[in-house]
């Protein structure tokens, strides 16, 4: 190892853990309470765990993890050339490890840290007081869950009982029937797959080291705030006290149309634009090297998505069944429509077309899955396949950007359409809005209300701006500090050998 390489390695590690260090300082600044406090919105009502709900949340968490690896890893790696197959798989697998560690250290707190509406009860004095300082709905109170504090059930020696802190819906404060650990794990899997989706845009050319730092910063600075705004009771949460004025009462996002798909898709577009095209893009053939992987990956994404959407119900009740159903229907309609369009316009339906269509359908239904009825889900599948088909073929060709694996064309465009269609088709009949005082709300345009539509538009615009500007700034800095792309030689040789000293296929 040359001295410059050693220095660079140290720098990377320093950057990787700078955020971790900052969080530690925050924690040190907090005065340790004299007595452990048990938070309770309604004192005396001990939160109960429902074993059925908890079983479903644990299974859902595993399903969502399966979406990244092997689902997305296979889906993406089949689409690249064979000299880059491992690099894409490595990005997915590495992010499973990296994002989990960030989530465990401070990510969950930044996203879902309690807001000051929650009261804590002091054990000795039985006095209630708002325990956490205000963060104005823009960022979670990272201190509360820092280093998995208050997440795992702990044994209380004096009371001879297990103290369990159920996660409470930040929107209405109702206790969920699963332990906080289950909710934390479920959300952790979202934190993994969202950056992994971006990998599709810079595949075959980004430096692995830069990608690692980019994802740490992206997860911390873009995902965590956004998750807090939308799901953590922040400014974009439906019914949240912060979602006033321009935020129009907050947007509906059942399972991550804005947080996951728009944020990753738009960031993917910025990545594709800033990294530039792959060498020889448009001149040399870059066909997918193994569409069988892609087909397997797409099928695994479909299955995993049931955890993603139906799991977002937070329990194993009727809402989960409804979300499961519309998810399935929308994916089916999407795959059918995309393949059908190819059949009409190109003469033959293709495997990649069917895969792309079903994933586009899944993306589109994600924000809407708890809020729409089955027939509208079919309509959304048809609509998103038409729009994403156009984005991936005509629009991409017209503007000439190299979004290698269409992360923007499917997740950015499909997510945006899904968020907007949620404003059209959302209905209280579907049962997704269970907030106290809100269950009788009219929701989408078909329900006869325009307020949700406005909130959806605002949320889409804000998410686009945050993702685009944030990604742009992070990439600008990393470009100056580390460089974004591998060298020309390394790119021609393939990232498997140049970045990892490995080859995907060795038959002799």
């Amino acid at each position: 190892m040359s001295p410059t390489r050693i220095v660079r390695s140290i720098l990377w590690v320093a950057v990787m853990f700078s955020a971790f260090g900052a969080a530690s300082v925050l924690r040190a600044a907090e005065e340790a309470p004299a007595n452990p406090t048990i938070p309770a919105t309604t004192p005396g009502a001990a939160p109960k765990v429902d074993s059925g709900d908890n079983a479903w949340m644990l299974v859902s968490s595993a399903l969502v993890l399966m979406m990244t690896g092997p689902g997305l890893a296979l889906f993406y790696s089949g689409l690249v050339r064979k000299k880059n197959v491992l690099s894409v798989m490595m990005q997915c697998l590495f992010l499973m490890c990296l994002m989990t560690v960030i989530w465990a250290l401070y990510g969950f707190g930044l996203s879902f840290g309690r807001d000051p509406r929650f009261m804590v009860v002091d054990k000795e004095t039985k006095k209630e007081s708002p325990a956490y300082q205000s963060w104005f709905g823009y960022i979670g109170d990272a201190k509360y869950y820092l280093f998995m504090d208050h997440v795992a059930p702990t044994w209380d020696e004096s009371a001879q009982t297990s103290v369990m802190d159920n996660f409470r819906s930040p929107v209405d404060g109702a206790a969920m029937t699963v332990p906080t650990a289950s909710f934390m794990l479920f959300q952790c899997m979202f934190f993994i797959i969202t950056p992994a989706l971006i990998c599709g845009a810079f595949a075959e050319r980004m430096k692995f080291s830069t990608m690692v730092v980019f994802m740490i910063l992206w997860g911390t600075l873009i995902y965590c705030p956004l998750a807090h705004w939308v799901w953590g009771g922040g400014v974009l949460s439906y019914g949240s006290k912060y979602a006033k004025g321009i935020f129009s009462g907050g947007a509906l996002d059942f399972a991550g149309g804005t947080v996951v798909h728009i944020s990753s898709g738009v960031s993917a577009l910025i990545c594709a634009l800033m990294l530039g095209k792959r060498l020889g893009y448009g001149k040399t053939a870059m066909p997918p090297h193994n569409l069988t992987y892609t087909a397997i990956g797409a099928a695994m994404l479909w299955v995993g998505w049931f955890g993603f959407n139906a799991g977002s119900a937070g329990n194993a009740g009727a809402l989960a069944s409804g979300a499961f159903m519309v998810t399935h229907f929308c994916a089916a309609a999407g795959g059918l429509t995309w393949a059908g369009l190819e059949w009409i316009f190109r003469g033959k339906p293709s495997v990649l077309g069917a895969c792309s269509g079903l994933v586009a359908g899944l993306v589109c239904i994600t924000p809407a899955s708890g809020f729409v009825t089955p027939m509208y889900a079919l309509a959304m599948g048809v609509a998103v396949a038409c729009v994403c088909y156009t984005a991936c073929t005509l629009v991409k060709a017209y503007f000439g950007y190299d979004d290698s694996l269409d992360a923007f064309g499917i997740h950015g465009v499909g997510g945006t359409l899904g968020a907007l269609l949620t404003g059209v088709f959302a209905t209280r009949v579907a049962g997704g809005v269970t907030l106290e005082g809100h269950t009788a709300d009219k929701l989408g345009l078909i329900d006869g209300s325009t307020s949700v539509m406005w909130a959806q538009i605002v949320a889409v615009i804000i998410t686009w701006i945050l993702a685009a500007v944030g990604t742009f700034i992070i990439l600008k800095i990393l470009d100056a500090v580390m460089g974004l792309r591998v060298s020309r030689e390394a790119e021609m040789e393939g990232l498997d050998v140049s970045q990892h000293d490995e080859e995907g296929y060795i038959f002799i």
Binding site: A285, P287, R346, L352, G353, Y389, C392, T393, K396, A397
Partner: protein
């Protein structure tokens, strides 16, 4: 001795192998190859992007035979591999200096 290299269609391999073994040819080497001649390639389409695939997959059979069997082998392959369409392939005939069986050290016609 001669060496015959025959480039044929994938789905003709079994026919050719059967016809040759029936006529007493006891060994051959097969490999998957890509190339183009008059058939040229075809077009593939991935998410709206068209690619010209110039190199068409074919099967290459290599057979080593005594001079006396050359015409019979060429006729047999012709008969078995022909469809009459462009893309049936080609045969190349080489003069061969020697052949040696590694196990015994036999050489020439004995080694085939």
């Amino acid at each position: 001795m001669k060496k015959v290299e025959a480039i044929i269609r994938h789905f003709k391999l079994d026919d050719v192998k059967q016809a040759l073994t029936e006529r007493g040819i006891s060994g051959m080497t097969v490999s998957e190859v890509r190339g183009f001649g008059r058939q040229k390639g075809h077009t593939e389409m991935y998410r709206g992007t068209e690619y010209e695939v110039d190199f068409v997959p074919k099967i290459k059979i290599e057979i080593v035979i005594p001079d006396s069997k050359l015409q019979m082998v060429l006729d047999t392959i012709m008969g078995a591999a022909q469809t009459g369409q462009v893309g049936d392939g080609k045969m190349f005939v080489y003069d061969l200096t020697d052949a040696i069986r590694i196990r015994t050290g036999e050489s020439g016609a004995d080694a085939i």
